[in-house]
């Protein structure tokens, strides 16, 4: 069976790969957006923190004998705590300066983290198995769906939507959005804004680590797994509109799918298609698809 002159098997296969990539784009750009919304910095260490999430999962298995499900819980907490320490000790000193210094600091931190891991574990990947409950797959008739991949797509979608719900529909989220608009006023109402900023950074980092655990069985655990991915995610965030929660979720998944289809129809452009889309979007809407112009 063929569709648009391409075997459906290949078409849906690439669609699935696109959705998987899109899930990671969405999780990572969501974290970046949450952090950017409140801290106004682009967290360049996001890719390194994603990688750390995968490594924590690996360590859990190797050192503690704790499997995938535990790692899914532990890695975000551990890496999130490391993020909180980073925010408390370093980032906090930079808020009175130009926000670009935050970008440069996190860039330096990313270099250090990636360098340390590369020193210890080299550049080749370490294997990490798929949890026993999610091995195998289903034949959907038009394509074969490995269970683990389906799980990644569904789970990340749930996490993304839950995050959206908390930020847009709850009291806590209302405080958060208020602090984004006017931190001084929110502080005057008796809300501890500095602590909220710290926890927000920790949460954004935890999302990256969660993505890292999800990625471990698919891409292997590799010190440089986040280094190039994060550049693509930056483009995704720019397309969606910096700081827009729903924007990063929707564009994350959508661009993953677009990238997947590009692989089918014009493979040469699959690496650049996101950047091309970004250039086009910026020409029409400089603030991104879902961004508000201030």
């Amino acid at each position: 069976m063929t569709l648009f002159g391409v075997p459906t098997q290949a078409l849906f296969g690439q669609l699935l790969i696109g959705l998987i990539n899109g899930a990671f784009y969405a999780l990572l750009s969501l974290g970046l957006s949450v952090i950017f919304g409140l801290l106004n910095i682009i967290n360049f260490a996001h890719g390194a923190q994603y990688m750390m999430g995968a490594f924590v999962a690996y360590f859990c298995l190797q050192w503690l004998g704790l499997g995938y499900w535990w790692a899914l819980l532990i890695a975000p907490i551990v890496v999130g705590l490391i993020g909180i320490v980073l925010e408390r000790t370093m980032l906090q000193r930079l808020y009175h300066l130009d926000h670009l210094y935050g970008l440069l600091l996190t860039f330096g931190v990313a270099l250090i983290i990636q360098g340390v891991f590369r020193n210890e574990y080299g550049s080749s990947g370490l294997p990490y198995g798929i949890p026993a409950q999610l091995t195998g797959g289903h034949n959907l008739g038009f394509m074969f769906l490995p269970n683990y991949r389906g799980w990644v797509v569904v789970f990340s979608l749930v996490v993304c939507l839950a995050t959206w719900y908390v930020i847009e529909r709850t009291r806590l989220g209302a405080y958060l959005r208020a602090a984004t608009e006017n931190p001084t006023l929110v502080q005057a109402f008796g809300i501890n804004v500095p602590r909220m900023i710290t926890l927000t950074y920790g949460f954004g980092v935890a999302l990256a680590a969660l993505a890292g655990v999800l990625a471990a069985p698919i891409y292997q655990v590799n010190p440089l797994m986040g280094a190039d991915l994060i550049i693509v995610v930056f483009a995704v965030v720019v397309i969606g509109g910096l700081g827009s929660i729903m924007g990063s979720i929707v564009t994350g998944f959508a661009l993953g799918v677009v990238e997947g289809f590009t692989k089918v129809f014009y493979p040469e452009a699959s690496n650049t298609v996101i950047f091309v889309i970004m250039a086009l979007v910026l020409l029409v809407r400089p603030a991104g698809l879902f961004g508000r112009t201030s």
Partner: protein, 350 residues
């Protein structure tokens, strides 16, 4: 981003970056158009002349004591950093995609020299033109954005260039363009001679350095500073801010191209390293370490960083760790950079 915030990046470079009465045009160039009311005195401050003479003297003597190939590498990066500094130090724009111009020009000049048989001067010129054209296109698309957006968008465009270089036929993919002939400069100077090559590179570097100096200390440079300090006000005074910023961007891209094209001829190689985004990060680090918005800072920063890389080269990933650590230290406690601090010590902008 408010004006106050935007100001911070520029002035962090220290007193050097603030327009002072001492800023002046080099002698013998009285033909500069008077733009608006930017007041420029006609004298170069003496301490900068002294610093320049010291720098030239050191660079002329250096190859007789230090490995010339290392020096040539450092000089290419010094020019690259000076070009980059023009943008961040004087316009307050952080480009995270300058590798595109360095590497793009490198590929162009290597291809021209190797495949088309261009003599070195024509190859370098061709690389420079390619970088300038890239600068015009990327600049036109990005210059309206600011701060973090600008950094992000330039980064993404540089990635496009990277993937293009990875896949295009003429760039040789992972291998790059190897064994580029150095050739004979202007039909007289055989660049295969190390010292001839060195002094050619030195001449190119000094030329580029003076162009940047001239641009910064001209009425044009004063307008750039005015835009950096307070863009709405500059606009209300009648300056077309976007035009000025675009010109600065293209100039910066062009000079980065000169550096990249020269580098390709010197090392007879154009490779993916020069277009990768880590290279964009490296030039930020050089400039930051030397001192944002200082005249001599980028040169010093480039020499320090290239020396470090040279000594740490055998230690693998340690290079990245040390680079990252320098970044963190510079941002947290050393924002003026080496030359910025030095300038503060002698109370003169360097």
């Amino acid at each position: 981003m408010t004006d106050h915030e935007r100001r911070a990046v520029g002035t962090a470079g220290g007193p050097a970056s603030v327009a002072t009465p001492a800023d002046a045009r080099p002698p013998g160039r009285e033909d500069a158009p008077a733009i608006g009311e930017a007041v420029v005195s006609a004298r170069v401050p003496r301490h900068q002349v002294v610093a320049f003479v010291v720098m030239v003297a050191l660079l002329v003597l250096a190859p007789f004591f230090i490995y010339p190939v290392f020096l040539m590498k450092a000089l290419c990066f010094a020019l690259f950093a000076c070009a980059f500094n023009l943008l961040i130090g004087y316009v307050g724009l952080l480009s995270f995609g300058h590798a595109a111009f360095l590497g793009g020009a490198g590929y162009a000049s290597a291809h021209a020299a190797k495949v088309w048989g261009f003599p070195p001067e024509a190859a370098i010129l061709f690389g420079t033109i390619v970088a300038a054209l890239l600068g015009i296109v990327i600049g036109a698309l990005t210059i309206r954005s600011r701060g973090i957006y600008f950094a992000n968008i330039t980064l993404a465009f540089a990635q496009m260039i990277f993937f293009f270089s990875l896949q295009a036929k003429f760039t040789g993919g992972e291998d790059g363009i190897q064994a580029v002939p150095r050739g004979v400069l202007l039909g007289v100077l055989d660049l295969r001679e190390t010292y001839t090559m060195y002094f050619t590179v030195l001449a190119i570097f000094l030329l580029g350095f003076l162009v940047v100096y001239r641009a910064i200390h001209s009425p044009f440079g004063q307008v750039l500073k005015a835009i950096r300090e307070n863009e709405p006000r500059a606009v209300s005074l009648g300056y077309r801010a976007e035009h000025y910023k675009l010109i600065a961007f293209v100039l910066s891209a062009t000079l980065s191209g000169v550096a990249g094209a020269t580098k390709a001829i010197v090392f007879q190689l154009a490779s993916l390293t020069d277009v990768h985004w880590t290279m964009s990060g490296e030039v930020v680090l050089m400039t930051l370490l030397g001192g944002l918005g200082t005249v001599f800072g980028p040169v010093v920063g480039a020499f320090i960083l290239i020396s470090l890389e040279n000594y740490l080269a055998t230690l693998g990933a340690w290079v990245t760790i040390v680079q990252g650590a320098i970044f963190v230290v510079c941002v947290l406690v050393f924002r003026r950079g080496v030359i910025g601090e030095l300038g503060r010590l002698v109370r003169r902008p360097l």
